[in-house]
């Protein structure tokens, strides 16, 4: 039956589910890593001979993207409507738009870092987090 959307106070449960699933899948991936000379090989193929070439970093990348999308769904569940507003770009954006701008911008921050600085992308990741916070605050 159709109902009218409203703020719900059950969102902490949904948030907990997303975080628990994320943690459980991360643990599962870590346990699936092959052990070489008594240490986990973080960059070895997760499925030897698999055509999709899954590795731990690749799987974590997609798991994090799906976790972010799920967290956005929880946010929408907690506070429906998408929180549209006009920010510094002078046009209306919703939370989904801000996430898209954050992810796309982060991808280009990483590419610029790789092209101009070097292979260590941890600083690029930190810069991307700062950028994403800026986007969610100001855009």
């Amino acid at each position: 039956m159709a109902t009218v959307s409203q703020r719900t106070n059950r969102w902490p449960l949904a948030l907990a589910v997303v975080l628990i699933v994320y943690a459980a899948l991360t643990g599962l991936l870590i346990s699936a890593l092959p052990v070489k000379d008594g240490a986990r090989d973080w960059f070895a193929p997760l499925i030897p001979g698999g055509w999709m070439a899954w590795s731990f970093p690749g799987a974590m990348f997609f798991l994090t993207i799906f976790a972010l999308l799920s967290l956005m769904a929880v946010w929408e569940y907690a506070s429906p409507g998408g929180n549209p507003r006009v920010g510094i770009l002078r046009f209306e954006t919703t939370r989904g738009d801000r996430l898209f701008v954050s992810l796309l911008g982060s991808a280009f921050i990483h590419l610029a870092w790789l092209g101009l600085v070097g292979p260590n992308v941890w600083w690029a990741l930190a810069l991307s987090v700062v950028y994403a916070i800026g986007v969610f605050k100001l855009v």
Binding site: A2, P45, G58, L111, P119
Partner: protein
Amino acid sequence: MEKTWNNKAWFMVLPVLVLVAFSAVIPLMTVVNYSVQDTFGNNEFFWAGTDWFIQVLQSDRFWDALQRNLLFSGIILAIEIPLGILIALNMPKKGLGVPVCLVLMSLPLLIPWNVVGTIWQVFGRVDIGLLGYTLAAIGIPYNYVNNVLDAWITLIVMDVWHWTSLVVLLCYAGLVSIPDAYYQAAKIDGASRWAVFRYIQLPKMKRVLLIAFLLRFMDSFMIYTEPFVITGGGPGNATTFLSIDLVKTAIGQFDLGPAAALSLIYFLIILLLSWIFYTVMTNSDAQS
């Protein structure tokens, strides 16, 4: 504003999600995985980290191909959009001319890309092609095989011939949807032809123009088959666009890692430019 909410609607979306997962998400995941690994075949992979991205981003080959792509798309849009509007404005709005014009306009769109390439490849040949032979006969030096400018002109004319019809048909659809009352009001006010175009027809065509602009940008930016058939990326590398470079890397050299990194960068550039175009055009539409 409060909105109606029905969670059963999610089940309606499920088939599309499954289809998109198989056609887009799984291949994209595979490309991401390949972009950080190296392989010599037989599904054996070795971790390469960000090496392929650095290799692509620091190569002149990538930047040269990107510049060619941007130049080609810029020229294509600058010609096809105004030309498409002009033709649509001059097409008949009633009578026998309507179906005749619509069929004629649709014909180039029905021809497969590789056939279009072959038509123009033969058409432009100096020895047997109608265009090449005629130009040579009247003393105009033209040879798309060894002259860079001629190769570019051939590709641009070919693309304009193939795709302007799409812009025409979209603009025409926008034009015929304008109610007669607008034109009658303009006539009573004594509006000039330009004023009718500027204040009635152009605003009413804005949405279809947005679609035409985006489609033509994305298509021209991803062009592969026609230049591959006509020039093969030559002379030299003069018409080697990103897509041709990508295929050369992936299939010609079997460098799947660098090819995956290149295709991700290519994808991100298209996504960024399309988002900018879409946002700018929809917001200018909303403001007007």
